[in-house]
């Protein structure tokens, strides 16, 4: 009792831990997002960089400003705010006004994440909350697609990017075009598959190059960064369901391969539906979730009023996630019956 020795440290067992931590998880996703970002810059030039920066800035500033943790902005260190900002940016059209992109970032983090308590507590995918908000607030701006520029036009920024805050973009004629899905839905014009795969189409920044997304997704699946069941289930469900529709009505409906390659399906399936926070925890739940997303995508694309349904499909399934989790509880060892 006499010798004064340093206090021992009491922690709870287990004392060992697998190396993977949340910030590392986020960094890995960021790294595997990098190729998609580069492709966006390649296809859309400086505008892409501006939009991505604006969205990310909105997300980061909000996270910094609204988290009360003691060193302000400490929660930025986990990297999820940056990830949210980038993913949001990648699903915006290249010509969107920068202030809108920034606002999207603010809404994504503020409304999509922090009101629920921050990282891990949100119920809906923050980036999609941001985008859905923008889409509902500025439906025209967000469905105005501009053509890809050639390399020589790399540094030409789309004039609509520079709209003053709260103001409309100057109307520019002739620049806007339609996405493959819009063309298909409203004009019945399909886009060649090769263009879809290589990204030679109009669309959101990140969604155009299908090939790259698939490759990055495969790497993430192998590295077990996300639950591979989710994207697989989504794509399977889309192929099967749209294949059925197509088989019944070859004229009026898009082919399954078009469905797969077009719009934000691949990007959504790989980067957004897989957000662990807003998807079910259980493997069985992951299947249900993925199939649900796939079915809703086809439903909205084929019969809905909007050309693209990935965002809403994921948001709707996010809403159903607590229920899915509940019905897919693991069974309990020696019980053969899932927990309540």
């Amino acid at each position: 009792m006499t010798r004064q020795e340093p206090h021992l440290l009491l922690q709870a067992a287990p004392f060992l831990r697998r190396g993977l931590t949340t910030p590392r998880l986020m960094v890995e996703v960021l790294l595997l997002l990098a190729p998609v970002i580069l492709a966006a810059v390649w296809f859309f030039g400086l505008s892409a960089i501006l939009v991505l920066t604006a969205a990310t800035a909105g997300a980061v500033v909000t996270e910094w400003a609204l988290t009360p943790a003691h060193p302000r902005g400490a929660s930025l260190a986990d990297g999820s705010a940056v990830l949210t900002g980038l993913i949001l940016g990648l699903c915006l059209p290249p010509g969107i006004a920068l202030w809108m992109a920034f606002l999207g970032g603010v809404v994504a983090i503020g409304l999509g994440k922090l009101v629920f308590g921050g990282l891990g507590e949100n119920l809906f995918n923050p980036a999609l909350v941001g985008r859905a908000f923008l889409q509902a607030a500025f439906p025209t701006a967000i469905t105005t697609w501009s053509q890809q520029g050639s390399i020589t036009e790399f540094a030409t920024v789309r004039p609509s990017n520079w709209a003053l805050p709260l103001m409309q973009a100057p109307p520019v004629d002739g620049v806007s075009t339609a996405t493959p899905l819009g063309l298909m839905k409203f004009e019945g014009v399909p886009t060649p598959l090769a263009d879809l795969v290589l990204g030679n189409t109009a669309g959101s920044l990140g969604e155009t190059c299908g090939l790259l997304i698939v490759v990055c997704g495969a790497i993430m699946a192998v590295r077990r960064i996300f639950d591979w069941r989710i994207p697989v289930a989504i794509l399977l469900a889309v192929v099967v369901f749209s294949g059925l529709v197509w088989a019944l009505d070859r004229e009026g409906s898009p082919s399954p391969q078009f469905m797969l390659g077009s719009g934000g399906l691949l990007f959504g399936a790989v980067y957004m539906a897989t957000d662990p926070v807003t998807s079910p925890v259980t493997p069985r739940g992951a299947w249900i979730f993925g199939i649900g997303v796939g079915l809703l995508v086809v439903l909205i694309r084929v019969w809905g009023g909007l050309p693209e349904g990935v965002m809403y499909a994921i948001l709707l399934m996010n809403a159903a996630t607590p229920l899915i989790d509940r019905i897919s509880q693991p069974r309990g060892f020696g019980r053969g019956r899932p927990a309540a």
Binding site: P139, T140, T143, F186, E187, G305
Partner: protein
């Protein structure tokens, strides 16, 4: 907050007689009926006038130059002229006349699903030229800024100025050049299509039953 409470509840209070319950309800209902009937009678003329004015305005828009109306309802397979304020459940159209009582055309209404909820459309039809003479949205809940252009966008409404209906009205996206084409509103293709479809459907329903000879103008609806 404490002194002024009159606690009407005392636990285990005896039940009042059923007669009192019935009487209370009966009297309340009777008084209510009295009040309602009175108010109804006072306001009815005003309300009717409002409705008539609105109808006239609408018809004036879709059948330019119209000054008088007659209401016809579908009864036993044929159109029968009725008084404007007659309560009917059968579907109705209006015949429109100019100041001199000359028949100008029909004002037909139809409804159907739009982008959001049901859209109600009133349009004018001139049997002589077999063209739509105008279109007016009676009710819609389309998105402000997009779908609401179906009535806010002059250019779109102008599409229906003299629109051929045969073989059917179609929506195009890249400028109209045929007489039966409507140029879709950019960003609101669905709503545009909905309006056109509603008119087409109403045409299919009404044109076969419209009498070749419109009823004579009686001038009563003013």
């Amino acid at each position: 907050m404490n002194g002024d409470v009159e606690l009407t509840v005392s636990v285990g209070q005896r039940e009042p007689s059923p007669f009192r319950m019935i009487a209370t309800l009966g009297i309340a209902a009777m008084l209510s009926g009295l009040v309602l009937a009175t108010v109804f009678q006072v306001t009815k003329p005003l309300i009717d006038a409002n409705k008539a004015r609105e109808l006239r305005l609408g018809v004036f828009r879709v059948v330019p130059g119209s000054a008088g109306l007659r209401k016809l309802v579908l009864r036993d397979g044929g159109l029968v002229a009725v008084a404007e304020d007659e309560v009917v459940t059968a579907p109705a159209v209006h015949a429109a006349y100019d100041e001199s009582g000359t028949f100008l055309g029909w004002a037909i209404s139809g409804d159907g699903p739009g982008f959001q909820d049901t859209i109600e459309v009133l349009y004018g039809y001139d049997p002589q030229t077999r063209r739509v003479t105008g279109m007016h949205i009676l009710a819609s809940r389309e998105t402000p800024g997009l779908g609401d252009k179906i009535y806010k966008d002059e250019a779109f409404v102008a599409n229906f100025g003299a629109l051929a209906i045969e073989p059917s009205i179609v929506v195009v996206k890249d400028g109209r050049d045929e007489g039966n084409e409507v140029d879709a509103i950019t960003g609101a293709t669905i709503s545009s299509q909905a309006v056109v479809r509603i008119i087409n459907e109403a045409n299919a329903r009404w044109l076969p039953v419209l009498p070749a000879e419109p009823p004579p103008f009686t001038g009563e609806s003013d």
